[in-house]
Symmetry: C2
């Protein structure tokens, strides 16, 4: 199998360069100060931030703040989505209330669902139970469906006068063929992010991938024009897809879904892109490359919280002591166990929905 380039995912330099270009600050100074920072912070996977100081101050002063993470209900949740949610769960432990907009409008206007109804159905029957099963506290989590929330329509209309077509065109890459729903969604997304402020939260932090930074700059600019507090953001590296690259819902072959059976997920891991040698003999001799090994990266991103254990695996795989099959087997065990537990929780989630939903 030809090795594919994953430099856009694992390359440290690219993230640093892009962050610098965009004017994103380093997360480094906050890492040691964050209470019980999860592995993804310690490991530099959450590498950048804008205005994180105000969030740190809120956690330090035990002041309530909001963490916002939107979900596009175009399909089932996958591990790439879980990366956002893990951060929201962490901020909830730090004192934040979690606000989750489900952007059924985004799904539909960008043609990721045949109808708005189908996007809404998928949100209600599939995405929301998955979210709830991931362990949010009902009293401190508010989930809403974009087109079912009148306050979002009103807020979007209100803030729509603070941007121009020119601005949103540049941010979203619009052209003459763009439909008006897509154009307005650029503002609805900003409304989602500013919504917590209208609910009484002062600070909001939005965990995002670096590719989403232009949207963040748009909403921060709008907030500024409205005299609102500019929302903060943190930037994480992309969750690798099964063959490297980025795990993306629009490419199912890159994804492990939270709805995959544990057995199916194991199979996906076992045939994921490997950083091991071309043959066992070669691997024993030259070792593997954990930096591009997808199974290793899944441990690093979320399935091995123990830094010492992760380091042992890295070293062992790199030296060729641990084989690619062994590493994949280890990761598959972890993911299988996670999915078994998650899917048990998911069965209970349907009965809890009302505790989480707002309109």
């Amino acid at each position: 199998m030809a090795k594919i380039s994953v430099s856009d995912v694992q390359g440290e330099v690219d993230y640093e360069k892009t962050a610098k270009e965009f004017g994103i600050d380093s997360m480094h100074g906050f890492l040691k100060k964050l209470p019980d920072a999860p592995a993804m912070y310690r490991r530099g996977l959450v590498f950048g931030q804008r205005d994180f100081q105000q969030i740190y101050d809120a956690t330090k002063n035990r002041r309530k703040f909001a963490v916002l993470t939107g979900v596009n209900p175009s399909g089932s949740l996958h591990l790439g989505n879980k990366l956002f949610i893990d951060q929201a769960l962490y901020f909830q432990r730090c004192g934040a209330d979690v606000i989750i907009p489900i952007s059924n409008d985004e799904t539909y206007v960008f043609h990721k669902a045949d109808s708005l109804e189908k996007a809404t159905e998928n949100a209600v029957n599939n995405v929301i139970p998955d979210l709830i099963a991931l362990g949010f506290e009902p009293k401190r989590t508010k989930i809403f469906i974009s087109t079912k929330t009148l306050r979002i329509f009103e807020l979007a209309i209100k803030i729509s006068t603070k941007a121009t077509f020119s601005t949103v065109k540049a941010v979203f890459g619009f052209n003459n063929d763009t439909n008006p729903g897509q154009i307005f969604y650029s503002i609805v997304q900003s409304a989602h992010i500013l919504f917590p402020q209208t609910m009484g939260y002062r600070e909001t932090v939005v965990p995002i991938g670096i590719d989403q930074d232009p949207y963040m700059r748009l909403v921060r600019d709008i907030a500024d024009r409205l005299g609102m507090v500019k929302p903060s953001s943190t930037y994480h590296k992309f969750m690798p897809g099964l063959q490297g690259g980025k795990m993306s819902g629009s490419k199912p072959e890159t994804c492990i879904y939270l709805t995959d059976s544990p057995e199916a997920a194991r199979k996906k891991i076992m045939s994921a892109f490997s950083g091991g040698g071309g043959s066992l003999a070669e691997h024993r001799k030259s070792g593997g490359n954990p930096d591009v090994d997808v199974a290793f990266q899944y441990l690093r991103f979320m399935f091995e919280q123990d830094d010492k254990k992760l380091e042992e695996i890295r070293t062992s795989f790199k030296k060729g002591d641990m084989t690619s099959g062994e590493l994949k087997g280890y990761t598959a065990d972890r993911i299988e166990a996670f999915l078994r537990n998650h899917q048990k929780e998911r069965e209970k989630a349907n009965s809890k929905t009302d505790k989480f939903m707002i309109d």
Copy 2:
């Protein structure tokens, strides 16, 4: 006083030419068939139509249909607005239910109110009581405020994929400085017009001025793409402003408002643009021009329903027998009487609001 050009208002040729250019059909064939057609139809003030046959069929077969007339709550209602409402009231007598969207979003995104709240307040405290006072039947009239109606947001999102920026740009004259709220409003307006179909009405007729035809073509095109029935429209001539031209809410000096005191309205009429001679002697000698006389036009548009009486006035003024002051006095009496009665009804309207509003 220099005579200003009112040819864009009274010129028969311009309306015919524009109608032809736009592909608007004549209303002529329906005039004699319409039951108890009010003066504005008999006098050719409602001169054009698109797909009116289906509306005529509905009235003939006593099938329920919808008449839709939107109101932009940028100020108080004026006689220009009443021209739309008179037609809606007529169609209600013909069996239609009346649907009235109040476009507080339009007011705000096009900068006709300082805030969305102010537009909404003006709708609730000022425009809606005026509408109700004009005599709609509560059981067959549904008024809603655009941003307070979740079904409009959902419908607008749904239909937004059936147009492109290119299309709405051409219709509304958008450019790079246009705000995204204005762009989306082009679709919200179409959603207002298609809303009755989602409520179970098959046919909808929208009385409009010829300048609004591009919006009608947009919504008819969207309806077609959605497999919905194309809404019908009728076209009326512009209600003249106090100095000629068009009565327009954005130019208060052109308007008689439904909230004007009868005395204030009288004063406005008495100093309105006159088609009379420059002096009394001149008028007696050469006569007046009723076609450009604003007071006469107000009688023709709405305040003298008796065709014989109107013809007497026209002839007498034209010959110079009736003076400009007499004509204005006659019209002022009619408008004063209307306003006195209307404002009495308006005081009772507040207690009836709930019977008319939907969300």
